[in-house]
Amino acid sequence: MTIDKKMSGEPPDDGPRAPSRITFRLDSASGVPTYLQLVHQVEQALRLGYLTHGDQLPRVKDVVGSLAINPNTVLKAYRELEHRGIAVGRPGQGTFVEAAPAVVPLAELTGLRKSMLAWLRTADAAGLDADGMTALFAAALRDFHDRRGATGASHGMTDDGPRDHRETA
């Protein structure tokens, strides 16, 4: 009687393979949960073109072997990516990139940036320094997320870990 938990759905190790397209790193000082860091790094790699449709994500065993983290954390990150529609697990093979997250067009980004600058000038006039602005932005962003979480709205980019519901203003 063994605890037969097929952790990764990956094929057994059979000799050398091609190295995976990306590797993960952890920032233990960020305070962001490990699985979310992995999720963010996959999304970032997609945005920057390191990963494209059909690429295989690093195998659980390899991630675990390089980062020394609990395999369940990697599985949780990959489940989260599947949940967001970014990756898909293929039993016996691994997890593969399914679709890139929606990329915001450059023109729209420029517009957003302009409106942000306008807001910054207003804040500056009101006497806020850079740290104050950052803190205010972070608090507003949290509120925004919480409200959306509370109404049950789900969006691909929401960090809906169990801890993120806790904060209220």
Partner: protein, 310 residues
């Protein structure tokens, strides 16, 4: 099937109790961290679980009811004792061959390939290896036994940071490959969050905290608010540990299980909740020996789980 079940487990050496009324049920497939200060009873609990020691009271069973130390349990539970005791005068190859001869379950291929990967010379005496390499040889022997439960007593203590990372990486690889359950003790708590998904805090011979790491983190938070209104927070939360200044206080708080569904909305006015790290949580409990967080219904006859230190 729990990989480890202790009920009313106690061990007394001469006059002092090393472990008392320990009741635990560790579910399978977990990497369980057993933490606590030195002398909290971690080693005693582990020695009882592998049958190196017999309990003074209570029982301990492994892998779904096997008596600790029975032959069947020995076959399926691998143990690496503190400081990885091996026969230091034997060459690595002979040490491994010896272990092979002491075990019915043995994966020679795995032992050989692991040692090759780690570049540990088979001809060198175990005693001449570095601490990290000795720990790796001990781990190699343990996992070549293809255990269902792997118990490690302070595996990280003698290792430098690099060796520690490599040791944990190979341990986690094994967990990913085999899905085995791991129970390891440590008094270093900074690295646990990445490794452990189940936590047991032992203090002064008693189990203080036991539970799924995710649930523990979700069930606890740090409340920051006015020092004068700590009682308000007490309506929804058990306060594990309180640090207060003249006007502001930080509370490490645990949501009462009954209040779970309303968690998000029930932070009292004037208070702000923020997530807690595993290290903070462990430290808070260790600072408050009276506080407990155990699974299941709260034990009868005990008042509020925590005391507010003011």
């Amino acid at each position: 099937m729990n990989v480890l079940e202790a009920s009313g487990l106690g061990k007394r050496y001469r006059r002092a109790w090393a472990l008392r009324e320990c009741t635990l049920a560790i579910p399978p497939g977990r990497v369980t961290a057993l933490v606590g200060p030195n002398g909290a009873g971690k080693t005693t609990l582990m020695h009882l679980a592998v049958g190196l020691n017999n309990p003074t009271s209570g029982t301990v069973r492994v892998l779904g009811g096997l008596r600790a130390g029975s032959l069947e349990a020995l076959n399926r539970v691998a143990f690496v004792a503190q400081d990885a005791p091996l026969y230091k005068n034997l060459p690595v190859g002979d040490m491994v061959h010896l272990a092979r001869n002491l075990n019915r379950r043995w994966d020679q291929q795995r032992a050989a390939s692991r040692l090759a990967t780690l570049k540990i010379p088979l001809g060198r005496k175990v005693g001449k290896l570095s601490g990290g390499q000795q720990a790796q040889v001990a781990l190699t022997i343990a996992i070549a036994r293809r255990p269902d439960l792997l118990i490690l007593d302070e595996p990280l203590a003698p290792l430098d940071p690099l060796a520690r990372h490599e040791f944990l990486a190979s341990l986690m690889e094994t967990v990913a490959e085999d899905g085995i359950s791991v129970l390891f003790s440590s008094h270093v708590i900074s690295e646990l969050e990445r490794i452990a998904d189940y936590l047991v805090v032992l203090a002064d011979g008693r189990v203080q905290v036991a539970g799924d790491v995710e649930e523990l983190l979700a069930g606890h938070c740090v409340l920051t608010g006015p020092a004068g209104q700590i009682e308000d927070a007490g309506a929804w939360f058990d306060i594990v540990h309180c640090r207060r200044g003249q006007s502001q206080a930080h509370l490490l708080a645990r949501l009462r299980p009954a209040a779970y569904p309303e968690f998000a909305g029930n932070v009292p006015n004037g208070w702000q909740a923020s997530p807690v790290t595993l290290e903070e949580l462990v430290l808070a409990y260790l600072r408050e020996p009276g506080a407990t967080a155990l699974p299941g219904p709260a034990p009868l006859g005990r008042g509020p789980v925590t005391e507010v230190t003011a």
